[in-house]
Subunit: 753 residues, 2 copies
């Protein structure tokens, strides 16, 4: 085509023939366009029409030549930005073409093109912003690790050294029995290192160090999670129940052997028919006056103990929760040590043990069922710290209320609700490390003419992973806070800390569930292969949201605790009292609620940590007050309280959630305050901002409903979340490196390419 | 205590001693309260104080007697509603007490109690609303099943009969090789039933019935999902690639044997380094002029074929996608039939097969890797419907553009994107059936004095499962629509239907992911045991969001298609054009956007299906327009289009999501319109309302941001979602029964208690 004005149509020819999205209809559109150009001669029109004749396509070479020609022109004319620009150059600025700018814009649209995008396919744009935003560390990774590990650094490093030894190589065993025995062997090694008895008193061989014990649980969680749970069942549930519910005679008799794993045991609370409603359990322990013994009995099949770790294979004894019966009178749930097997592993008379069989995960733990048929144990086997049967065969307890005594007993076992969320957090760290490292190396697609780009450079991939990374850091500091509150608790604080533990257990384990799900998908097909360990991480932690208290039930308890605290703080609970409270809260939030603030979108404000904390606090208080108000209203309208609490269950989850989010951001901010290293402080601040804003974004409907923010602000927050992800991305690798998870534990090939 | 005014304090004594939430501080509060009662003598005060002395607790009997006394009074005085009311009755209406109403209200609050709740613990409230809302079916279940199955009822019933036979009993095999072979045997049985070749032309032994083929895939998905995928690999991917990409000579030679499973084969597209960006794959097929053959070659380790089903054990041939090279010139990706093994199963020369090893799920499918080293195949093995090498050794194709040809080839394989979402939906139906049946039978907690209540009577449990049930019904009709569009497609519609299939594949598989996650948690510990099958359902479908196109990538494509359609429809794409469009959209929505509507909360309006559809349509159009505007703005500001599209990736997901949600509600509503049976129509309408409102609730932040709804309305919608869950709950069992999943397929013990 030496006729420049005909040549000008080349881009259109190329596009209709090469684009995979165009249909018959678009060919017609183009033909109509050509025939409407009255400045072309009929012959010229015929020529052009012949190029867009579906029954007579151009040759492959033809199309390639068009492309080459267009590329050459676009690459020397960087100002070309639309098909029209290109057409104009091709036509040598033909005067007729000059008038056709609107027509070309129209045809571009009629064909569904975005001009700039089309033009970019003729450019070689290897140096895009997307391409350039790659890994670049600008803080001291080891300093950050030091901050995360804190005072437990020594024990953490010791545990890492042990689990990195060759004998801890992962099992590729598909046979569950072999896997369970392997896990048991691993536990024995850990016992020899004095990890299991770390929290027990030194007089029984222990380390007197509960803080270290929690750090051990957490660090072990970088390794196989069946190991962690088996370890926790033996030394935590079994050992700590003897320690916390028993008295000196039990400690002396059992604790040392438990700590060395000479005496493997179980914690037998849950029954088939009673999990969450554990107060309703039905196993009985009947006192026999004649010989001062108890008879342990499973009254029916559904009252068997279920899901009991260490039961199916290894446990020799169990702490059994049963209703104490004396002279046909029920004295509520108490705990008893009941032998299950002899030291050779033979099941004892009256004991029937079943195997829970294959599970979704944690198949290295031998969960089983236990039934008791007329099993007689001596009186001293009652764990009698909170209740006993005296010499006269009468029930005695320093806590006269059965209800209160039962919850006091449960309260002593709250350590599990610290160990589990910390273990969950470690699993999330492993998953994020694998997924982020893979995202940094895996390349797909890219700009025209350039190489493929690391998938972590894509905004959607950043959105999938980096807010989760920020949340993981936030929860880390939240759990550190929970741990330290627990370790220094006074009697006055017990209820608050129990509620906080129940809540953080739920918050952390649900977070891990979501994170590992996202990690699986973010790693695509590779994430589905067991060798990359997201399989095990996800399936093993799946039940964390259920055991140690079902999350949904725990969240209701947390909310009830908050409501009770709320009532104590704000007196008269009529509607007036609540309105006063809401008014007070609104008044303290008056600065935030004025229209200048609700619409404020400048960067300084959006990144202001004080704004974040206030927003979280406001949400926490308002939701709590509105829940209280709603319950009151429902009951006033004649509903039974039981029904009223059912109506607001969904609202109660929000009450608990808002509380936990406030605690988490608060503790993250407080931790950052104390950091001296500026570069570490800077990157953690960015993570705290990302955590805060992505939570606000998640809850933005609520903020809008409340009038606390207007849409201009919530939209700005969405953009800022994107921006923070983009800004953090170069440090993403360093931020997962700071978790310092041993390579042998990570193990996933995709994390080491 | 015969002194009535002292006796009046009994409720407080009982409460402080029995409640597990009270602390030291509350004892102090109560002591202060007592000492401040100047109308009591000092002696009387001393007596009362002695009852709240922590160092001298009452006896257990004492507490029980208090409780008994209080119960007796409350049960004969139904008007008692607060501690004060109770105190008054106990004091025989003592005049002093009469004045103390505010003080008692205060102490109630200071102790953190809700009076009505406390009083209810003394009542026997067995007949609460919560207790009563149990299973009660009010529609004809079999009629609903008939509507779901539609014209495919006969084949669906036939498939169900086959998979219910004893030989289809689930494997409890943990050995993967045995499991894979079992799945292979099952496939052979299905082939004998002529299920596999159902869609092939009758001249090659097929059934000429694509609609039935999809129904078979879906129905098989009530059984083991490895079976479904193995079946789909053989008859769908392998067979349909030969059928769609090959010509008569290939059909004649292979199709019959493929359909009878005499010739097991693979579909070898994905490579280790190229999954989503499949255009970039690197395997080569080099034409040899000398003997008219192709040499298939894997150029490097990362270009091996990966995740290929049927490869590790059974496949004898494969459709291999490779770049065709003639005389050192690259003619783009084409497809070739390459033999892998002889009929004895021996791997052929030049072929190296690896095993993908254990996976998160689908372990009955033998996924493997394939590498080719100088594998020579005859020229006729090129699947040459869209391109061929002519006698002169030249490349020839009716589609001159490599790009367009490649996408045309892929387009013929779109059936997989219908089979997979339908399979996913079936898995969701299985999970919901198990979880809802369990929720109806499992009882925990209950009102004071009453029996435990089915957990499905709890609002939060309804919230977890019933919106998912509604969504599953909605997607059912959405996928029926997709299928019928696909089966009757014209050339003009191909792109739209491809985008719809890609989108519905993502929407359905993500939905299944979420549903099975919720089902697992809703079943607690039982949901974690493999015997209850949520394990397998969840882990097997986990990769559905990745294969047949990664959902996140597909959603970007769907959004791009929508944008392109948008441009075609609305001409001039400058900002002005978009503003005009938005204005038009707003104008059509003017009725909805007026303040009377944005605040409208009456039940008729909230349940109005027209309102629902309008809200979905408005969202779809507005998000699309704003995405277009944003991209334009970014590019105008100087961003490379590649970078601009990266910036809006997150927004693009919303574009696609809004489109798919609109299609789904629309099709659900249309389907309901045609139903004659009033009771079935009524329950499906409730589900459609629940689906619509729960989606609006999920997106309510957006509606608030847009001013399409005000907070009074979004709050009313939240309540209406709760109400609909409550209303649907009695029919929940019937609604899962209507899926008519064979008992032998469900298999979960918890679904049959």
């Amino acid at each position: 085509m030496d006729n420049a004005k005909l040549r000008a149509f080349t881009p259109l020819f190329y596009l209709v023939w090469s684009d995979d999205l165009l249909t018959q209809k678009e060919f017609t559109t183009l033909r109509d366009f050509i025939t409407s150009q009255s400045w072309l001669s009929e012959k010229e029109q015929q020529f052009l029409l012949s190029k867009v004749d579906v029954s007579n396509p151009p040759s492959r070479e033809n199309i390639n030549n068009w492309k080459k020609e267009l590329e050459e022109i676009v690459q020397v004319n960087p100002a070309i930005n639309s098909i029209y620009d290109l057409v104009k150059v091709l036509s040598n600025n033909d005067a007729n073409i000059d008038k056709l700018k609107p027509s070309f814009a129209k045809i571009e649209n009629d064909l569904g093109f975005l001009g700039e995008e089309i033009i970019s396919t003729f450019k070689s744009t290897t140096n895009t912003l997307t391409t350039k935003n790659t890994t670049h560390t600008n803080f001291d990774v080891s300093k950050l690790t030091g901050i995360l590990d804190g005072k437990q650094a020594a024990i953490i490093n010791k545990v890492k050294a042990v689990i990195s030894k060759p004998e801890f190589a992962y099992q590729s065993e598909t046979d569950n029995t072999a896997y369970r025995n392997k896990v048991y062997e691993w536990c024995k090694i850990l016992a020899k290192e004095n990890f299991g008895n770390k929290a027990y008193p030194s007089e029984y061989g222990g380390g007197d160090n509960m803080a270290d014990y929690f750090a051990i649980m957490e660090t072990l969680s970088y390794h196989d999670l069946s190991l962690v749970i088996k370890f926790g069942v033996q030394f935590g549930l079994w050992g700590m129940s003897v320690y916390s519910l028993g008295t000196a005679k039990h400690h002396k008799k059992y604790l040392k052997d438990i700590g060395t794993l000479t005496l493997p045991g179980c914690f037998a609370m849950t029954e088939t028919h009673h999990g969450s409603n554990v107060k309703g359990l039905e196993t009985t322990a009947t006192y026999n006056h004649s010989n001062q013994t108890f008879t342990i009995q499973t009254p029916h099949k559904k009252a068997q103990k279920e899901y009991i770790g260490n039961a199916a294979l290894h446990g020799q004894m169990a702490t059994v929760f049963a209703k104490l019966i004396i002279d046909n009178h029920d004295y509520g749930v108490n705990a008893f040590i009941v032998p299950l097997r002899d030291t050779q592993g033979n099941t004892l008379t009256g004991i029937t043990i079943g195997d829970c069989g294959p599970k979704m995960g944690l198949n290295g733990v031998d969960n089983g069922t236990i039934s008791f048929n007329n099993v007689v144990i001596p009186k001293e086997n009652m764990l009698d710290r909170f209740a006993t049967v005296n010499k006269k065969g009468e029930f005695e307890s320093p806590i006269p209320s059965d209800n209160r005594r039962f919850f006091t007993m449960l309260g002593t076992l709250v350590g599990g609700r610290i160990g589990i969320p910390r273990s969950a957090l470690a699993a999330a760290k492993s998953g994020l490390t694998i997924a982020i490292k893979y995202g940094d190396q895996r390349r797909q697609f890219g700009p025209e003419g350039g190489s493929e780009v690391p998938i972590l450079n894509y905004r959607i991939h950043q959105r999938r992973l980096l807010p989760h990374l920020a949340k993981t850091y936030a929860i880390h500091f939240g759990l550190q806070y929970l741990t330290s509150r627990f370790l220094s608790k006074t009697d006055e604080e017990i209820q608050e800390i129990e509620a906080l533990a129940a809540g953080m257990k739920s918050y952390s384990t649900w977070s891990t569930r979501d994170i590992l799900q996202e990690c699986r998908e973010a790693c695509g097909g590779k994430g589905y292969l067991s060798e990359n360990r997201i399989d095990a991480l996800k399936n093993d932690t799946e039940v964390y949201t259920t055991f140690e208290g079902d999350n949904t039930v725990l969240m209701q308890l947390v909310a009830k605790n908050r409501l009770s605290e709320f009532r104590k703080s704000f007196g008269e609970m009529g509607s007036l009292g609540i309105i006063n409270y809401v008014y007070q809260n609104a008044k303290t939030a008056v600065a935030e609620k004025n229209p200048i603030i609700t619409r404020k979108t400048d960067e300084n404000h959006l990144l202001d940590m004080e704004f974040h904390l206030q927003a979280f606090q406001y949400r926490e208080k308002s939701i709590l007050a509105s829940a209280a108000k709603r319950i009151k209203k429902l009951i006033d309208s004649g509903l039974e309280p039981y029904d009223a609490f059912n109506v607001v269950q969904h609202h109660m989850i929000d009450v608990a959630q808002a509380y936990l989010e406030r605690v988490t951001i608060e503790q993250f901010q407080i931790a950052i305050e104390t950091i001296e290293d500026e570069s570490v402080k800077a990157i953690l601040s960015k993570l705290a901002q990302l955590y805060a804003l992505s939570q606000i974004e998640k809850n933005k409907a609520w903020y809008l409903e409340e009038g606390y923010m207007e849409s201009v602000k919530t939209k700005a927050i969405r953009k800022m979340v994107n921006q923070l992800c983009w800004d953090i991305r170069p440090n993403a690798i360093a931020l997962v490196d700071a978790f310092a998870i041993p390579d042998s534990c990570l193990a996933a090939p995709i994390a080491f390419q």
